[in-house]
Amino acid sequence: MRPDRSDTQALAAQRRSVLDALSEAAGPLTGRAISILIGGSDDRIAADERLLYPALHGLEASGKIRAAWLPGPDGTLRRTYRMRPLWPPISGLIRSR
């Protein structure tokens, strides 16, 4: 079943919102943290959560963002997202040598 035009537009808008949120973030964020950043409050995010994860996974598939399982404050692993860096960190390159 092909998504209709309004679905596609809504998903594109959600992707832009996700990219905006991640570009302003200082570090990797979980999907829920991104949702809160986009919505501004828990009440306002209700409608957008339907497309949050399709947008996140679509952006990851297209290579625009990176995902990784990182330990949270309580030690449990959480899937986090961050913008894809243009270059690998120089410190990593130095360490690898």
Binding site: R32, D42, I45, E49, P54, G58, L77
Partner: protein
Amino acid sequence: MTLNLLTLVAFVGGFLGLIALAIALVRRGELHLGPGQMPDDRIVQHADGAESIDVYLDRMAAEMRLPAGDTADIRAELLDHLADSIAALEAEGFDHQAAIREALGRLGPPVELGRQLRAAHQTTGRLFAGAGGGVLAAGGGFLLGYIGAAAAGFVVILVLALAASLVSRLGIPTPNLSTPDGNAVGNGLYLTFVLAAGAAVSMRFAVRVSAGLGRRSPRGAAVFWTVAGVIVFGSWAVFGIRGQQSWVGAVVAPAVPIAAAFGALYRIDRPMPHVGRWALVIAIGAIAILELGYGLLLSAGVTTSGATFEQGASQPDFHFDHAAPIAPAAWLPAGAIAGNDYSETGGIGHASSYFLAASPDQASQAPIPLTGVLAGWHDLRFEAWHAYPNWEPNSPIGVDTSYPSPFVIEPAIVNGDTLDAGFNFEKLRDGRDWWFFVTGVGPDGNRYRLSDGHGGWTPFNGSVWDWITAPQ
């Protein structure tokens, strides 16, 4: 010599490189097809309301139709998200069950979420990556399976040969398998086994890699690869592989496409066994075994490929009169020596017959132009008759008298001082042992042979299809 060595190094290096690439692709694909990157015991746990959440996630996962690893990761991620949402909603005053309903409701209908996530993962780029990776993995997997099976089969043959040697030393008779028929059957079985193993591993690798990289379920990818594998490997086994053939080889040839389908379909959802550096070590060891074993065979003087073995003869007890009586000397060039030659080029046998002028000095003998000499003859032709197998120790020699007629007749073409004809013995099922003569109808109206002809043997050389459709 240097060029040959470089070619060998390039071939072996290329093969090993392709195998290494296939193994790397399998390992990458298994990341998505395995249990997932997220260990279960590290996932945030939720106690109450687990049932309704599980039902939601199950319905979503069923709609996603993604590989198991990706499905597990998405479930874990959404579980984590829901736990946080439920906790936040409870902090706002929702009771637990209402918080679960609200959190699930915000994610939308599970079927719709599953569909959207499937669309997000199964992109066109990943589809091409899966297809390309599958092709490369199929090539490397085939080499790995082929080499491994060839080495394993070779070791089994050596063990059986040793066992047969011991048995024969004890005085127990063993069947003679070193005949051309035995060789053709043995080669056919061995080649089919090796190809089938290669096809099965190839398709296994292809399905798992294309499913993993393309984010498709292995069962869905297996349908495509089964069709492709059966067509490619089936065509190759029936039409592509050329050499000695037998009915046993023709009967077992379908095992190759069947093995391809088996490799693609049988328990394809199960994770691949860990393949890593040991697969490369096994491949290198298998190549070493094959090289050493082949070298031993060559040094022992055993041939493993078909060839034409000829022998000229002019003996009175070779049953040549069964074909036709020799022509009266008065109708042939006086004192001339008859000669016959046979050579093969590109699978076509070229037979020629001629007369050399009589001369005490052998070196000055010259071919006699045939136009005038054979003026009284007509309907000159080459006849190929079945011959007794001259490779059997106690077999009679010469024309096989159990056949009443020649199995191939070709018109003789006068070409200056020779009579020429072409034969295609290697495409005849029953044309291995042969003896050809030139015969013609003499001035008295009877057919005679002009000389004692030429004998040899040519093993069948063609595909399974050539064997099945051969004229005899």
